[in-house]
């Protein structure tokens, strides 16, 4: 699949989205998961939280999604970094993932990165 206009959202956790992180780049396509802490109907901005970190998500382009404080949501979108280094995700998809086993999810991300690293290493040798 040499060319694809729709970029894949890299799986990241909110604590990983620090300014020093490789994922913290303008326009980076990401997939984030977190508990809904705040939601503004006027601005369509949601704030999700996970493991002590928070992220603003612009949900203006999302349809048919009910926002309930305390529910866990997953969004795919592009990162927009403001001049004050505050990041906001411009979401293009979102879904309620209440009931997700977050411990298993985090473990699967760890396993995935190890697997990808080994696979990439084998591909270049």
């Amino acid at each position: 699949m040499a060319s694809n206009a729709i970029k894949s959202g890299a799986l990241v956790t909110l604590p990983e989205l620090q300014p020093s992180s490789e994922f913290f780049k303008e326009g980076a396509s990401l997939r984030v998961t977190g508990k809904l802490q705040e939601y503004s109907v006027e601005t369509a901005i949601a704030v999700i939280a996970d493991q002590g970190a928070t992220l603003k998500v612009d949900t203006q382009h999302l349809r048919e999604l009910s926002f309930r404080i305390g529910s866990i949501f997953q969004f795919i979108g592009e990162l927009n970094i403001q001049p004050n280094y505050e990041a906001i995700l411009q979401a293009r998809t979102g879904r309620n993932v209440d009931g997700i086993d977050l411990d298993l999810y985090y473990q699967s991300l760890q396993q995935l990165r190890q697997f990808q690293a080994k696979h990439m290493k084998n591909a270049t040798t």
Binding site: M1, N4, I6, G9, L104
Partner: protein, 159 residues
Amino acid sequence: MDQQPLSLLHIHVKLLGFSLHSITPWPNNPSIFYLNGKRISRVEILGVVTSRDYKPNKFLRFTLDDGTHSITCILWLNHLTSPFFASRQPATLRVISDLAKCFADDIQFGKVARVRGRVSSYRGDLQVTVSDVVIERDPDAETLHRLDCISLGRRCYFG
């Protein structure tokens, strides 16, 4: 007795997007591809529907994002009009056509879909020609598929 080498040619190989991206075509047959030296033709993938291009009675082209790569999928909807299917029994074609339409209705933007199909190439880009779709509502479905793909990759495909 010597063990026969594992054949993946006639099963739906569970793959992550980035692994699917690594396969190479087999020169003798455009429907067969190499995955780490093993021939494959069918895959099972799972991800979020991130694009949807619907042409009624022709096709539905959509992309699945599993967090490692975006995968283009094509679901044909032209069973009743295309000469490609002309040799099949009309009653069978009607069933296949109705099923494909149900799949097309199910595949909506933002949904998580498990797709089985044949790997194919279109204008140099890989795509999956869809034969089966299940919409996954379990929030752990993607996690479990990811772990399955990693486990199978380590033990069977790349081991």
